[in-house]
């Protein structure tokens, strides 16, 4: 059969007129009602970025207080609020949402879909996150932020030992938990059901593997903290004694429930970064990832094993040698797939022809800093050693090496890598170079000395320390490092702002990458792909570029006016997916149905917050009225939402 090749056509630009509505929509309304995964992704990134800066500020205040012994920069209660909010903000309001933001933008593109499985639910997740985050931070001006630590050990969280800040913490986390679970549901179904034809699991990009495992972890870990928090709520306000020893309860119940969530949570935080690194390294080394299968399956193994090691956070609580040994074994076991991944990443660079873009620097730097965190983690996995290290600055060093040197470094790699795809222009490479080196250096200056502080016996979560205890030298060093780190992050912000004024002239595939998101314009049109891609290997675009050299063809998105077969393929594919997109906004006359924008996800998410507030913050005599009103509001919102789906 003769090969018909259509003449080259200019790629579809995202701002084509057929995509803007006939009437002028307000900018705010457009963003308030969007159900487009790309816009929602950007919302997550912006909001997460803002909270990252807030969390960073809280950290700087903490470090300032610890700069000198017996400092009176902050009173102890304010300090306790600061470190509680720093951790809570970074974990729930910054790292997780930025993970979700990148995932939201990229995953549907990477699997060749036109959106997430449930676009309206996607919007709902975002708004719930935003309202939850705002609510949590309102506590600062409404009686004091939570001051019980992000892990809120009972019975400190009982109402005789802590104030209204704890209620903000409980409600905030519940709301955020619902948002996370809904988001995870979306990712799982999208990845399972909406991959392009030919994309088996074996051909799926590793970022999708990582996102899939992360989402499954969220679905199975969050219910545990949901229950744990409900029990705190009932203890505080409804007379129960789940965690109160005096009433027959057991404070350790909280720790078990919390860490059953808490340990998978740290994998939730790091796995997406693993996925990003696994995408970035091959592209800039110009060779395939070393050991794809191993990296994919080890992610699954880590996810599964992550549920079996929770009590390694409780080695020093007196569980006994047998329990400690069991959890230590699991913790060492989980180190094996993690450790081998590191060798696989190095193997990816090995023998390559490496272009040191900023994304690549962050990816390579990630391997180094994450390794340090992994090694300190192995030390902590041994219970006797843990007896001397737990709750000291050694753990603070460990967790920041894996979460900042790991997750955050990975996220920056992803941001630099996918920035042109998302915003149509790349971040500046020279400023990026400054950012990388400043951040790497400042990060190590801040956190490496904390290993030594831990070995000197400095406890964590103390608002002050005494002179001549061996803490006097490294604390100011770490504090200065933290200021430098803040400065480094600001370099990134400057980069983002400066490049925002540059022309949006990024090409489809500026990095010569291989995955499907690069097979469309930068940024993509509303419907993502003009033609639903078909996939024959793990590296679709690298196959094509090889083919291109022989046959002079071109990338999928530039193939306009394709055969009816292709359009039929697309239309047929959507019908057989059990199209939930009844309402349609036609895009480009390709017969592609996009879900219509709607305000109901935002309205409903507000209702969830109102319900929790009604349950906890209303006077007992009127409580039932407020709760009833909130329930009615929720029912009305859901009705409105459902009606839009069915009309």
């Amino acid at each position: 059969m003769a090969v018909e090749i259509a003449p080259p056509v200019a790629p579809v630009r995202a701002l084509d007129t057929h995509e803007t509505p006939a009437y002028k929509e307000s900018f705010l309304w457009e963003w308030a009602t969007t159900v487009d995964h790309k816009k929602i992704g950007i919302l997550y990134l912006l909001t997460g970025g803002l909270f990252f800066l807030i969390g960073g500020l809280e950290a700087l205040l903490v470090r300032t207080q610890l700069m000198v012994p017996r400092s009176d920069f902050m009173n102890p209660d304010l300090y306790n609020q600061m470190f509680t909010m720093h951790a809570t903000t970074m974990i729930f309001l910054a790292v997780m949402p930025i993970n979700v933001g990148l995932g939201n933008f990229i995953v549907p593109l990477m699997v060749g879909a036109l959106d997430m499985a449930y676009p309206r639910l996607n919007a709902f997740s975002y708004w719930l996150y935003l309202f939850g985050g705002i609510f949590l931070n309102l506590s600062f001006v409404m009686g004091g932020a939570p001051n019980v630590g992000w892990f809120g050990y009972a019975p400190l969280t009982e109402n005789q030992y802590s104030g209204s800040g704890t209620d903000f913490w409980v409600i905030g986390l519940q709301v955020l938990g619902i948002a996370s679970i809904a988001g995870a549901l979306n990712f799982v179904v999208t990845i399972l059901k909406m991959r392009a034809p030919g994309m088996t699991f074996n051909r799926m990009p590793l970022f999708c593997w990582a996102t899939l495992v992360t989402a499954i972890l969220v679905l199975f870990a969050f219910p545990a903290i949901t229950i744990a928090l409900f029990l705190v709520m009932f203890d505080r306000h409804f007379g129960t004694s789940f965690y109160n020893a005096a009433g027959g309860g057991d404070p350790l119940l909280w720790q078990h429930l919390f860490w059953f969530f808490g340990h998978p949570e740290v994998y939730i935080l790091i796995l997406p970064a693993f996925g990003i690194i696994s995408e970035v390294l091959p592209v800039f080394s110009r060779k395939p990832i070393f050991g794809y299968s191993f990296i994919a399956y080890s992610s699954v193994a880590i996810g599964f094993l992550g549920f079996t090691v929770w009590a390694h956070h409780m080695f020093a609580t007196g569980m006994g040698d047998i329990a400690n040994t069991a959890f230590a074994t699991g913790s060492f076991l989980i180190g094996v797939p993690t450790g081998v991944k590191i060798f696989n990443w190095i193997g990816t660079m090995w023998g390559g022809s490496i272009r040191f873009t900023t994304a690549m620097k962050f990816a390579a730097g990630f391997i180094g800093t994450f390794t340090v965190g992994g090694l300190s983690g192995i030390m902590l996995a041994s219970p006797p050693v843990d007896f001397q290290m737990t709750a000291t600055y050694f753990v603070v060093a460990h967790l920041h090496y894996v979460l900042f040197g790991g997750a955050i470094m990975g996220l920056f790699a992803g941001l630099y890598y996918w920035w042109p795809k998302m915003f149509g222009r790349a971040l500046d490479e020279r400023i990026g170079n400054w950012h990388f080196w400043a951040q790497l250096l400042a990060f190590n200056i801040t956190f490496f000395p904390m290993h030594w502080l831990g070995m000197e016996g400095m406890p964590r979560r103390i608002y002050t320390y005494f002179p001549n205890q061996g803490f006097d030298f490294w604390n100011p060093v770490a504090t200065i490092g933290s200021y430098l780190l803040g400065g480094a992050v600001l370099i990134f912000v400057a980069n983002a702002v400066i490049t925002a004024f540059r022309p949006a002239d990024a090409t489809d595939n500026p990095w010569e990458a291989s995955s499907l998101e690069w097979a469309t314009t930068s940024p993509p049109p509303a419907h993502n792909f003009d033609v639903e891609p078909v996939v024959y290997s793990r590296y679709p675009l690298w196959d094509i570029s090889e083919e291109d050299e022989h046959s002079g063809g071109h990338s999928p998105a530039s193939t306009h006016g394709t055969t009816m077969t292709a359009v039929a393929t697309v239309a047929k594919a959507h019908d057989e997916h059990g199209d939930a997109h009844e309402t349609s906004a036609h895009a480009g006359g390709h017969g592609i149905h996009l879900p219509a924008p709607t305000i109901y996800p935002m309205i409903l998410s507000l209702g969830v917050l109102i319900l929790f507030l009604a349950v906890l913050f209303t006077p007992p005599t009127l409580k039932i009225v407020f709760v009833f009103t909130a329930v009615i509001y929720i029912v009305v919102s859901i009705t409105g939402w459902v009606k839009e789906v069915t009309d």
Partner: protein, 204 residues
């Protein structure tokens, strides 16, 4: 991708990814995944009860002295019956018997409401025997577990009534019954959880 590739694709490659999940509708999958998560929710509650069980059984008030198996067995039966009516409803829609489908939906919702009423009676009986949220380990563990279950039933009843309303507009038929099927999945799950609770708390 060249045009040749696309034509090739249209003839050879199926329109869906060969995931082995061809028969699983995207919305059903969503419900299954959500139910998996909800399992962990109830498992945490049941675990909390079981971790406290030794102390519960040796304290007062005490499940062995206060829980009336007979009455609750009837409630369990009611809920099981409601699962049956749910199945019948779905079957009716699949045969285009809309009226029958709607009636069975209503029956399911009615049985669910009976269950809730029965639970309310049970809770008030227990309160008279001194079992409340603040009466100790048994009261709090039991009431919170069954309370959350009851909330799930309540949401289910509302959902079934909504289905009943929608069915009245001719929305469900043999070509499109997925809404009923998904609500059925949820309802069966809620029923199963009750079977688990009933067995673990009342019978053991």
């Amino acid at each position: 991708m060249t045009v040749s590739t696309i034509e090739h694709a249209a003839h050879v490659v199926p329109a869906q990814p060969p995931s082995g999940m061809e028969s699983l509708d995207i919305r059903k999958l969503g419900m299954w995944v959500f139910l998996g998560s909800d399992c962990v929710f109830f498992a945490s509650l049941i675990t909390t009860y079981f971790v406290n069980r030794p102390l519960i059984l040796s304290g007062e008030p005490n499940p062995h002295h206060t829980l009336g198996i007979n009455f609750t067995a009837i409630l369990a039966f009611i809920l099981l019956l409601s699962s049956l009516t749910m199945v019948l409803s779905l079957a009716a829609f699949q045969r285009d018997n809309i009226t029958s489908g709607r009636n069975w939906l209503l029956a399911t919702a009615a049985l669910g409401t009976c269950f809730l009423g029965g639970q309310a009676i049970e809770f008030s009986n227990l309160a008279h025997e001194g079992v409340t949220l603040s009466s100790g380990l048994f009261g709090q563990c039991f009431l919170i577990m069954t309370g959350f279950h009851g909330t799930h039933v309540f949401i289910g009843v509302i959902w079934l009534l909504a289905c009943w309303l929608f069915a009245g507009t001719g929305r469900f038929n043999s070509k499109n019954f997925i809404g009923v099927e998904i609500s059925g999945l949820y309802w069966h799950f809620v029923d199963l959880v009750w079977v688990a609770i009933f067995t673990l708390i009342y019978l053991i």
